[in-house]
């Protein structure tokens, strides 16, 4: 038999002006199982809470209903008060007789009756409530950062500086990401390498950071606070401890004509290479696909010349196991390339290049030492056309979004060009100029006014070659769609920023969701921009959507704070209002039949498989099991399960059923 206490609040006059609170308290007293009931002016005030606590003790209450304002307002208050009086907080419920009753109805009998109904529903519900304890999950205070671009670097340094361990996994031989390829950066035109390199070095030297380059995450198990990650360190064919980074091998390698990825094909590299001079770590790897030894079985020139005998041709990939409490995804983005623009002749005409290639041309350490020379003949282009929105905002190309960074870097490119080729003319074809950001609009203005860039509003329809010139045809929509034709020496396409190749696979490995464009999805577009739907996994930088450097860095610091907050306790406390799959004595074990139809509905991948084994270790059943660390308590699985094997605390089948019964059968 229950001993429930009902406390009806007047909320000053907010409730009592339209609801007869005394009557509600009186009627509630008549309900079966109600031991005590009263009404009071302000239940949430100190005296109100004291009264509640005393009543719990005096009447040995085993359930409490507070009829007052919205539980979204004061449920924590009253649950805490109950807990202080020795009653399990989850045995306290609230009836919302203010927002849902007194404030929205006139003063009459119906309103008071509704309040009585709402109290009765909660009295019946609370009888079915169970005492629950909050869930404690231990936290491993190591963060895994995947991707070593500027976002990953920022996140790793922030977390490491909070005193926590960080493991960084980077796919390429060096960290740095796209930013290391950039020449100068908007809106200040400071040299990209100059601001990035010190931070890359800091990563390598930080006592709290372990760096794995040329490595990829292969498997992720576990959940928030307790991830188990397998990392594959691809063989570099090198003993990194012996290598001093002298670079002799790279100069002697007979393979010299491999297109250089870092230069985006505008230069060459050998088979044993360091991607760029400031690389971190500054030690070479052998690209086995292009190495003569791996192709033909002989060569080994590098091994012969290496003064420290660091080359290891028989080195194998290594699998490293990592335990981490949180994961930051910072795998960045990619830009469209290749055959995406047959109409612009990219790939066909050497002098049609993309923005990143232009960055390399403009870079002092690039293939032309910073001079703008066109790839075909090394001439300095006198007329150059920049095409913004190449692929972006074009539903026909499947990219409906704005790539966001191109307007800015196109203005930057026009400027850099003009600074280097004083007598040249830069043209920009654009759809709109989107320059929202601190000092951004001013920056674009400068490109137009000071550097005399010719901005033409319209899309380019075709580009073709004629007499050594690139004919760019478009329309000027500000001049009544008048056709425009420019004989250019070189064309730069601001190709759309897209999700990384392999982002989808990584999302599946790590168990986070992604959007229609394969960018990783945030948990909430406004309020949880750096969280994913998987607890303990966060996002930093352009892996979420195209972002510029300031935004990437801000997001990275945001993600780092989330990680640091998570690591600030040894244990994670979570509300126990989560789903459970029932368990019974053998041989039944559970009413779950292991259909796993519930598995794919869970937004948090919280439903796991548990194998029930007999004494001989043979699997006799596979049952669903809810991971306490991951479940957020939405209950979507509960409504799906045909056999009602899953239920959810706080909104259990018994509870909601009872509520409906109590509401309709007075």
């Amino acid at each position: 038999m229950s001993r429930i206490g009902v406390f009806v609040c007047h909320c000053g006059e907010n409730i009592s002006a339209t609801v007869n609170c005394e009557k509600v308290a009186q009627i509630s007293k008549e309900l079966k199982g109600v031991e005590f009931s009263t009404d009071y002016k302000y239940m949430c005030s100190d005296p109100g809470q004291t009264m509640l606590k005393e009543a719990i003790k005096e009447h040995k209450l085993d359930g409490v209903v507070v009829a007052a304002c919205s539980p979204r307002m004061h449920e924590p208050t009253f649950r805490k008060a109950c807990s202080e009086a020795g009653l399990n907080p989850y045995l306290c419920e609230m009836s919302n007789i203010r927002e849902h009753c007194s404030w929205v109805h006139p003063k009459d009998d119906l309103t008071t009756e509704k309040a009585e109904d709402l109290v009765r529903v909660m009295v019946e519900k609370v009888k079915k409530n169970k005492a629950l304890n909050s869930i404690k999950v231990p936290v491993t205070k190591t963060a895994l950062v995947i991707g070593g671009g500027v976002a990953g670097i920022q996140a790793a340094l922030d977390i490491a500086n909070c005193g926590h361990k960080v493991v960084m996994v980077e796919k390429q031989p060096s960290i740095g990401g796209h930013m290391s390829q950039l020449s100068e950066t908007f809106p200040t035109l400071d040299c990209s390498q100059c601001i990035l390199t010190p931070r890359m070095v800091e990563i390598a030297q930080h006592p709290n950071i372990t760096l794995y380059t040329y490595a990829e995450v292969e498997k992720v198990d576990g959940f928030i606070g307790n991830f188990k990650i397998t990392v594959r360190k691809k063989s570099k064919s090198l003993d990194e401890h012996l290598c001093t980074g002298c670079g002799l091998c790279t100069t002697k390698c007979p393979q010299k004509k491999i297109p250089n990825e870092f230069e985006r094909g505008l230069g060459f590299r050998p088979a044993i290479y360091v991607p760029f001079p400031q690389a971190v770590p500054n030690k070479p790897v052998i690209d086995r696909e292009n190495c003569t030894y791996y192709i033909k079985g002989k060569c080994k020139v590098c091994e012969i010349v290496c003064p420290t005998k660091a080359i290891r041709f028989d080195q194998e990939d290594e699998l490293v196991e990592i335990e981490a409490g949180a994961i930051v995804l910072a795998t960045g983005f990619d830009v469209l390339k290749s055959d995406f623009f047959p109409e612009y002749g990219y790939g066909k005409y050497k002098d049609v290049i993309d923005g990143l290639q232009f960055e390399r041309l403009a870079s002092a350490s690039g293939p032309t030492m910073g001079e703008i020379r066109r790839p075909s003949d090394g001439q300095i282009p006198k007329k150059i056309v920049f095409v913004a929105c190449a692929g972006s905002r074009d539903p026909a190309k499947g990219i409906e979004y704005c790539s966001k960074i191109c307007c800015m870097y196109t203005a930057k490119h026009a400027m850099l060009y003009k600074h280097k080729v004083h007598d040249g003319t830069p043209y920009v074809f654009y759809m709109d100029i989107r320059a929202g950001g601190k000092m951004y609009e001013e920056f674009v203005r400068r490109a137009i006014v000071e550097d005399e860039t010719q901005y033409i509003r319209g899309r380019v329809s075709t580009i073709y070659e004629k007499n050594g010139k690139l004919i760019v045809k478009g329309a000027d929509t500000l001049m009544g769609a008048e056709p425009v034709e420019i004989e250019a020496d070189m064309v730069v396409l601001a190709t759309a920023g897209v999700a990384n190749h392999g982002a989808e696979a990584l999302a599946q490995t790590v168990h986070v969701s992604y959007d229609a464009y394969k960018f990783f999805a945030e948990a909430h577009p406004k309020l949880k921009p750096v969280e994913t739907n998987t607890a303990g996994i966060f996002l930093a930088g352009a892996c979420q959507a195209p972002k510029d450097i300031p935004e990437s860095v801000a997001a990275a610091s945001g993600a780092a704070v989330k990680v640091a907050a998570l690591f600030s306790n040894d244990e994670l406390t979570r509300e126990p209002l989560i789903a459970v799959v029932n368990r019974q004595a053998p041989p039944v074990f559970s009413s779950c039949v292991g259909c796993f139809l519930c598995q794919s509905v869970c937004p948090y991948q919280a439903i796991e498989r548990e194998e029930i084994k007999n004494r001989n270790g043979e699997v006799i059943k596979t049952l669903a099991k809810v991971n306490e660390g991951l479940c957020q308590g939405c209950g979507t699985c509960v409504a799906l399960c045909r056999t009602k094997a899953i239920d959810i605390h706080g909104y259990s089948n018994q509870q909601v059923y009872t509520e409906v019964m109590a509401l309709l059968n007075d």
Partner: protein, 152 residues
């Protein structure tokens, strides 16, 4: 029929519609007292069986409401709910359950006024339709049978 007061149960999610109804309250927007809310964590939690139970226990109308698509607190619960509603509504229709008596809506935490409208319109509509006789009839004949079997 004059003094028929429809009984309407609203099944709503905690994050959008419940909060929206809170806002209706804070804005002191008035609406009919016939609708009573049962709170769920998410529309994804709302089992068709609980809707069934509401009708058979004398509800004249039902409101089911949650976050707009893409706004789900749990990101996808409402999408799953929507599929189930599509199917369940089909089945109700085929078995002759009056789908005019069950309203599905998206009401966000900011749509306090919309909530008042949803309630008022539903109450007005059900008031016009009258009590849910069909379901009530089987409920009554069931009670009689239960009594008979209890006497046996």
């Amino acid at each position: 029929m004059q003094d028929f007061e429809p009984k309407i149960v609203a099944f709503v999610c905690n994050w959008c519609t419940y909060a929206g109804a809170d806002l209706t309250g804070t804005s002191r927007t008035k609406y009919a007292a016939n609708v009573k809310i049962i709170r769920f964590p998410c529309t994804g939690r709302i089992d068709f069986m609980i809707l069934m139970k509401a009708f058979e226990n004398g509800a004249d109308g039902i409101i089911v409401s949650g976050c707009h698509p893409n706004d789900c607190h749990y990101s996808t619960g409402n999408f799953h709910a929507r599929r189930r509603w599509i199917v369940f509504r089909n089945l109700m229709n085929f078995t002759g359950i009056d789908t005019e008596r069950i309203l599905f809506s998206w009401v966000s935490a900011a749509e306090g006024f919309k909530w008042a409208d949803v309630v008022n319109n539903t109450v007005a509509k059900i008031r016009e339709m009258g009590p849910y006789e069909n379901y009530n009839k089987i409920a009554v004949s069931t009670l009689l049978k239960e009594e008979v079997s209890n006497h046996e």
